[in-house]
Amino acid sequence: MINKTVKDVTTACKGVKDGMTFMLGGFGLSGIPENAIAQLVKLNVKQVTCISNNAGVDDFGLGLLLQKHQIKKMISSYVGENAEFERQMLSGELDVELIPQGTLAQRCLAAQSGVPAFYTPAGYGTEVGEGKESREFNGKMHLLEHAFNADFAFVKAWKGDTAGNLIFKGTARNFNPNMCGAATITVAEVEELVPAGELDPNQIHIPGIFVQRIFQGEKYEKRIEQRTVRKK
């Protein structure tokens, strides 16, 4: 098997540069690439564009990059949990492109799949549709949407093997599989890295061909954003 293992997050993030476009997996704080984010903060890359469903919270997730003003532009579907984000956006420091969540996912998948463009009904007749081509199919209006173009995709999986095969857990899966192979270089961090052959080939969510670098992540905080419980 082709070995995709790199020894740590430093090696995994080699090649990131100011002005690049990154994809980052996760929904809220669930399934975010914690190690890669910490490394991007450390490297202090500037003027980056981030494609990520959310923008973290003030002191976790992408909020850490926002605090340091590393982000030039966010492409997201929902950014409601982050006061610093809102401040930077309303003040004009931060460029924000809000797009429908399904369109975001499909534009990642399109990039992964070599589909340059597709039609979706989401956003037709709204601000999202302004300046976009529209077209009727089956009596309904649709927008033409394009595949994303990114330099790095940073994803987080539950288990992975040295061949780059990935398995996600629960709803921490979310955008992570759709971003694999959707950028020039896909960096996967995993909670548990095993030798190739240990994962059931029938249960792999993302085959290793979509991953360029894989490493064992460290010290996952896995913060819960809204702790909701019921009494026993």
């Binding site: 669930s30 579907s77 979310n174 909701t228």
Partner: protein
Amino acid sequence: MALSKEQIAQRIAKEVKDGYYVNLGIGIPTLVANFVRDDIEVEFQSENGILGMGPFPFEGEEDADLINAGKQTITAMKGASFFDSAKSFSMIRGQHVDLTILGAMEVAQNGDIANWKIPGKMVKGMGGAMDLVASAENIIVAMMHTNRAGESKILKQCSLPLTGVNCVKKVVTNLAVLEIEDGKFRLLERAPGVSVEEIDAATEGNLIIDGDIPEMTF
């Protein structure tokens, strides 16, 4: 008397039929799950990647890898499944979800809905709402009839940036159940003790008031 948020959810729960896959938005819609009859089978879809969402976990059993679209910790029912975001929106865009219940800031009598942005003031984003309203054939909006200033949110035309056009079919507010019909709001039911006149006064859009309007039952 005007309904509480729980009562709005309770009334909407009556629209949930046996065998439905249902997507619940954040806020009042989330409460609907608590009021669905026990003797029917319904599966809740959350667009972040679960079908067969269950209630909140017992204390101490929360799992950071198991949340809903509101980022709340949840559980999975027996027979649930997890999937990625693209597959989740395949369910939504592909019209496999039977019923979508979501909140709104404004609804217009042509079925337009606005719920994601107040220019210059609040921009949280549309999340999955634009995909949901553009695709769903069966959309119920759960909302308060008026804003805090007492102004109607049931309008001739939306003033805020739209989430979707001509898509809303039914609206349940704290005052009434309304159905979009030929570019107007048909008044179907009144909240218990709320008069047709009170509803009319709180509604900026054109109302169709036809015969006796029954009170809601729960």
